[in-house]
Symmetry: C2
Subunit: 200 residues, 2 copies
């Protein structure tokens, strides 16, 4: 069995959301699985000195237009939320809490969280909203809310972010395919070609 694709993303990353709707299908075509890693870009940006897109002069407004245009082209529901960007600790911890016992359910939950934020404008920075979405995915709401607050889950998220930075991850989405790094939803085509050819 060939190695899985490592997929790093932040739940507040529009291009991470767009890529998340495609990566599993691309991987499956090449008999690969995908390891989904929620990370915190805020922590990463403090280490690298990067700034969130939305606040950058000229680039911020352009990016809002580009995200919407690219989402339309991909046929993915997208509306930049009124509150953007947001802190995504609650969403990331919730996903890790589910992942510890059921990676497939965690994958489904991640899709629901992303759609909730970028498709429906639900505020993922609110742990209660995240727990509501977990409940819609069949988890027990109060257990989910307690789970995302567990110290062990918080530690695991910190470790995930540290491990990501140690591997060179500086943005979202970020993919590693057989050791080769790819950054950005606009690199999905190269990811697919790399899977098909083993590199060039």
């Amino acid at each position: 069995m060939p190695a899985p694709i490592e997929f790093y993303f932040d739940f507040s990353s529009p291009y991470g959301y767009l890529a998340s709707t495609r990566i599993d299908a691309i991987a499956a075509k090449h008999s690969r699985s995908v390891n989904w890693h929620p990370i915190l870009l805020g922590v990463v940006f403090r280490a690298t000195g990067a700034a969130p897109l939305a606040g950058v002069p000229l680039k911020g407004p352009y990016s809002a237009r580009d995200m919407a245009r690219t989402a339309r082209l991909m046929g993915v529901p997208f509306k930049l939320p009124a509150k953007f960007p947001i802190a995504t600790q609650a969403a990331a911890r919730l996903m890790l809490w589910v992942q510890a016992t059921d990676p497939h359910a965690a994958r489904a939950l991640a899709g629901a969280l992303y759609r909730g934020y970028f498709g429906e404008g639900r505020d993922l920075s609110d742990a209660g909203v995240c727990a509501d979405i977990a409940a819609q995915c069949g988890h027990e709401r109060e257990q989910a809310l307690a789970g995302l607050g567990e110290a062990a889950v918080k530690d695991r998220l910190r470790a995930e972010v540290d491990a990501a930075m140690a591997r060179g991850v500086f943005g979202s989405p970020y993919f590693i395919v057989d050791g080769e790094p790819f950054w950005g939803a606009d690199r999905l085509e190269q990811v697919e070609r790399w899977l098909a050819t083993g590199g060039w």
Copy 2:
């Protein structure tokens, strides 16, 4: 005759170089011409607070790898020069000096300057090197050297950079197609689709 495509680029921009090898052919397929606008990213970055890619932690090393990988995929000769990034006033002024009397010759010169820097490692920050390349393109070397130093040419470059920023240009390459902005060599596919469909 439909409006030309506006193409903004810095001679020290690897992705500008990659895009420059494709944009004319894409435009021609849709009966469009291209207006080539050399700009100075250093000036633009001072206004927007952006930093040159090369010096950004994690993102800098990744980008060097991505540029080379993308160039190989496109079949474009590329080697990140030892001196990178560089000041590109001399190259930009030389191009504008030629453009004032012969836009086609200026387009050919721009290609030769870009290939000289990213294909052959020639230092475009040196006005003498730029004049050498102009001579290889059939211009008179000493006239070219004098031309790129003319006050009127310097003024014109300043005006070009100001006009670009006024249109929202914050990076290289940057394209405007019938009022729609596209940033990055990885948006060439969207540029082509926009030309074919008029938007989506």
